[in-house]
């Protein structure tokens, strides 16, 4: 048997972020795979210990580039729990808008992303266009397209700009109108179907063994384990939505589930726009004084939310000073992205490695944080 060593990443179109996998292949079958984190040189967790509680909002969005807001949210939730800070009602609802828009945004990216490994390049062009409409909304609300730094400890950084509700609705309408075309182009495309159906199967035992959450767990087990339902945060307990599940998890099912989730997110945002208080405060005080001296009381907390890739959490320890003492990030893709690659990527055809990484939801910075 001849074995060949191939490098996937750290810079590779099929790799998400600066992350490297050494592939030992025999023919076009992967025999062994060795994930190599450490290419990012960011050291998020350590950096957070050296930054003020306020300052960290400039750093943490970078742990997930495509869906940065989840970081801001878990960070804020954790600090708020430690500091007994009561978030104003309106801020909860604004946060939901941001989080769900971000979820749609990353799912659109995934729709486009599947075009890379399968060769369907119309997909990325379309999806990025639609995603950009969402980024336009983000730009108007937060002042930035990608790293929003908008959800902060105590609420949100600024109130919604006037008339944004109408613009959000327009984007949702437009997106909804396009969804059937996406279905035609991607989900009913034989290129995609042939490459993803019955391919990259994730059995329930494997999901449980590794600790996979999110779409992976839901499509393999049929159980609706979604933090928004099992431990509701913000005001997710006051809106109606379904958690799509399945009993067979192949690449296609997982892709299809994202499509279904986009529809649910649109449904959530519509309800939020209708139910949210129309005015009122959006930010509570963290502690006395200027932001340079904000302190969070001593204690420890684990806060978690549902990201597009599963359960996303921060374990935060505060020693009562103006910087966090320790923050550990529970990246949703850590189990499959590190352990999963090593144990379950072998056996995959070389052409399908990128599909494996894409549909399993591997996000480099949250592994290499």
């Amino acid at each position: 048997m001849r074995e060949l060593k191939l490098f996937l990443g750290p810079n590779h179109p099929g790799m998400h972020g600066n992350f490297s996998v050494h592939l030992y292949v025999d023919g076009d079958i992967v025999k062994r795979a060795r994930p190599l984190p450490g290419m990012l040189h960011r050291g998020f967790e350590k950096l957070m210990e050296r930054r003020l509680w306020t300052n960290n909002i400039a750093l943490i969005p970078r742990i997930c580039v495509v869906e940065p807001d989840i970081n801001e949210m878990v960070y804020a939730m954790g600090a708020e729990a430690l500091g007994n800070i009561e978030v104003p009602e309106r801020a909860h609802w604004i946060r939901m808008i941001i989080l769900e828009l971000a979820r749609i945004g990353i799912h659109m990216m995934a729709f486009g992303g599947i075009g890379g490994p399968t060769g369907l390049y119309t997909g990325p062009n379309w999806a990025i266009t639609e995603r950009d409409l969402i980024l336009d909304i983000f730009e108007e609300i937060t002042g930035a397209r990608v790293y929003h730094m908008y959800i902060v400890v105590g609420g949100v950084r600024k109130d919604l700009p006037k008339g944004i509700e109408k613009k959000i609705e327009n984007v949702l309408d437009k997106l909804e109108g396009r969804l059937s075309e996406y279905e035609d182009l991607i989900l009913r495309n034989s290129t995609i179907i042939n490459r993803t159906k019955d391919n990259i199967v994730l059995p329930e035992e494997v999901a449980r063994e590794l600790g996979v959450t999110g779409i992976g767990l839901r499509t393999s087990s049929g159980k609706a384990y979604d933090i928004r339902k099992v431990d509701p945060y913000a005001r997710y307990d006051q809106v109606e939505f379904e958690v799509p599940v399945a009993n067979y998890s192949d690449a296609y099912t997982r892709l299809e589930t994202k499509y279904k989730e986009v529809k649910q997110s649109i449904r959530i945002i519509r309800q939020v726009l209708e139910k949210m208080p129309k005015d009122g405060p959006v930010r509570a005080k963290v502690s006395t004084g200027s932001a340079l001296k904000w302190r969070i009381p001593k204690g420890q907390v684990f806060s978690h939310i549902e990201s597009s890739r599963g359960e996303y959490g921060y374990y935060i320890v505060s020693d009562g000073s103006r910087q966090p003492y320790r923050i550990a990030v529970r990246g949703a893709s850590y189990p499959q992205g590190l352990l999963g690659i090593e144990k379950y990527l072998p056996g995959t055809r070389l052409d399908d490695v990128a599909i494996w990484l894409d549909t399993m939801g591997v996000c480099a910075p949250e592994i290499d944080r």
Binding site: M149, K158, I193
Partner: protein
Amino acid sequence: MGNKKNFFAPIKAWKYLVKKPISIPMEDIFENPREAADRYRGFHANDWEKCIGCGTCSEICPTNAIVMQEREELPDEDGSKPEKPAIDYGRCTFCGLCVDICTTNSLTMTKEYVHISKDVDDFYFLPKENGIHDIKYENAYVRDEVSELLDLKRYDMVGLEADERKDSFIEIVKGFSKETAIAEASRCVECGICTKTCPATMNIPEYILSIWKDDLEEGVDWLYKTNPLPGVCGRICTHKCETACALGNRGEAVSIRWLKRYIVDNTPEEDYEKVVLANVSKGGEGKVAIVGAGPAGISAGYYLRTMGYEVDIFEAMPLAGGVMRYGIPQYRLPDYSLDKDISFIEKIGVKIHTNTQVGKDIQLEELHSKYDVVFLGTGFFGARGLNIPNSDHKDVHLAMDFLPQVRDFARGVIKDIDVHKSAVVIGGGNVAFDVARSLIRLQEIKYGKSDVKLIALENEEQLPADREEYEEGMEEGIKYQLGCGPQEVMLDDKGNIKGVKGFKCLSIFDGQHRFNPQFDTSDVKMVEGTQVYVSIGQSPDYSYLDKELEEKLGITRGKITKIGKNRQVEGVDWLFAGGDIVQGPDVIHGIADGHEAAKAIDEYLMNGKNKKK
């Protein structure tokens, strides 16, 4: 889903082949960029007119992208630094925290976002009003109430109400509780503009930080580095620091003075003593005599002693403290506080000889022969009189004669002061208010009611006294006749004072900023009262100097002018001077002077010049 159907489904996408593309052509991105959103966090703009160079933006910057750059063309004034923020866009994350925390609102972010260069050093900018490329772009990300990162409101200081305080000399201000002090301390942005403004360059941000950390021992250490009378300054300092405080631009300045007082009043005695005594070092060889135990003398004595010199202070009065002991009334500066400060001066080994007047009990020449160096800190203890008709009447009193009696009365040394039921105070400075408010108290104690009127040349805005003096005086019942120049003390048939006649004051200074008041003689004011107290300034007493020395000092308008920056008298090596007689009346200036002089004396003695065996 049949395979056939699936085969045709994607073909529907072909309809877009004939549609216009929505992507923007490359050349348009550079030449005609898409307009950014109204809140867009683009490149910065900084209004140099407003920016005070406090550096708070640089302090909060998570990536250290902002560096404060010193600019020679900028003036170095109180309340600002000659620095402006420069931003490295290679590091900037465009988070906008700098904008949210800007103390003056000068920093904003614009809609500009295009900058192209192959040179990495080309991303370092000093933004001005028109952004980084000097092209005016619309402001985009600006701070609002929600994104505010400063705490602009002061925490209230608890004090006695007017009714509770006006019939006794009990201290008005009660001091901060621990919680309030920490909360107030947390407002500080540590810019240090206060330090720059303080005559004694006190380490204000540092001691405020100690309060915030609840490490008062460290706080005491910071205080004594530049000020050996923190208890006094924590109560009666004219707090130029608070006027300069960066937070004052958009909100209320940090209560720096009360925070200083909090450290002094709340540090446990043994910790306090440990810190202060630890400051004394051995090494200085020499003896220094100090004339006058006022702020300047005590400060010079303290620092000389910490350097190891032997220090003797000669004070004419029975108690040390000078104007702090015999001028400022008890309700502002109680004896116990002054005693505490002075006790530590004595504990480190400074000898204070009270009841010893130089020029009478001991001659200056004698000090010169016995000591290596003599420091003069005799202050402005005399009163300046007012030269108007009948101002020599027996019921016309001078502030600096009256105030020592008030202090002695309050501490029980004298039993009675001859105050009438009604009085007129002339003057608009802090001392005039001290007189007026003391009179209120004395009248209330004696008669159960008070009638005090205050005449000043200045109107309400020009009044040199602190605003709080004006307001608290009003609460206590002083009636003001401001913008009025006294012309004559009016007498009745029996020769007793019945009031003061004044003209409306039109202007105080002439075109050359010289004191030259103009009056409207047709607008006559009669202010009634049977006693008059004049408080229009203080004067020095140089009777202890011989003629020859007096000439060498070059005394002009009461101040010594022939003196170097190091407080050494020109041409008289062994003589140094400081405080009021050099700077004019102010406690904190006196302390600063004493410290400066101590350093200069140390240098002088170390160099061994003129050293006696």
